[in-house]
């Protein structure tokens, strides 16, 4: 079956512009995660959606970052007024249910470059 897909694959933007990154999880997966991977760093948790529960936004680095998940499926991560330090690979993952015991399936990521 289809895996997690993300678009665009690469995005170059100018400082101060807004960007939207999209994630299509595996069909039927109720949990969805966004991570950020900066150069030479591990994955940094950003936000987590589980079913109809309020999302866990504890990892968002600033109020310029927001995310939504429509209809329990597709998710969009929005970065407003981008800064150069936002340059990174943004990875999305989904799992069948919530809980660390569930395997997270990752998408290929979106590489964001802010000039």
């Amino acid at each position: 079956g289809a895996g997690v897909s993300q678009s665009p694959s690469n995005k170059v933007t100018e400082k101060g512009k807004d960007v939207e990154l999209r994630c299509d999880p595996i069909s039927g997966h109720t949990a969805l995660y966004w991570y950020r991977q900066s150069l030479g760093q591990g994955l940094e948790f950003l936000i987590y959606f589980q079913g109809n529960s309020a999302p866990d936004k504890s990892g968002l680095p600033s109020d310029r970052f927001s995310a939504e998940r429509t209809g329990g499926s597709v998710s969009t991560l929005t970065i407003q007024r981008t800064q150069q330090e936002d340059s990174a690979v943004y990875l999305c993952a989904s799992s069948p249910r919530e809980g660390v015991q569930e395997t997270q399936y990752f998408g290929p990521g979106t590489r964001l470059l802010v000039l």
């Binding site: 760093q41 948790f45 660390v100 990752f106 998408g107 290929p108 990521g109």
Partner: protein, 113 residues
Amino acid sequence: AQTVTQSQPEMSVQEAETVTLSCTYDTSESDYYLFWYKQPPSRQMILVIRQEAYKQQNATENRFSVNFQKAAKSFSLKISDSQLGDAAMYFCAYGEGNTPLVFGKGTRLSVIA
């Protein structure tokens, strides 16, 4: 907060040889999971192996096995009979309950033909 440390930024191994990647973590919990993920140049993270903390037996998946030392909070990955396709970034990760995974900074593995 839980932390995961991978002390080897880069490792290399000859094809067909064995290599061990190190990972240590810090937690006060007794029930948790540990993972090794592989990230090839395609960027897509792939789960290699997982270990449940309450299981004493070390997990094994084909050529991949772990050495889980709960008291020492150590979770190393052994790759046997290394293949060129094993070349990638490897990330160790910790998880508990419904909280997001905590990842180490990764080890870049090169496989020499």
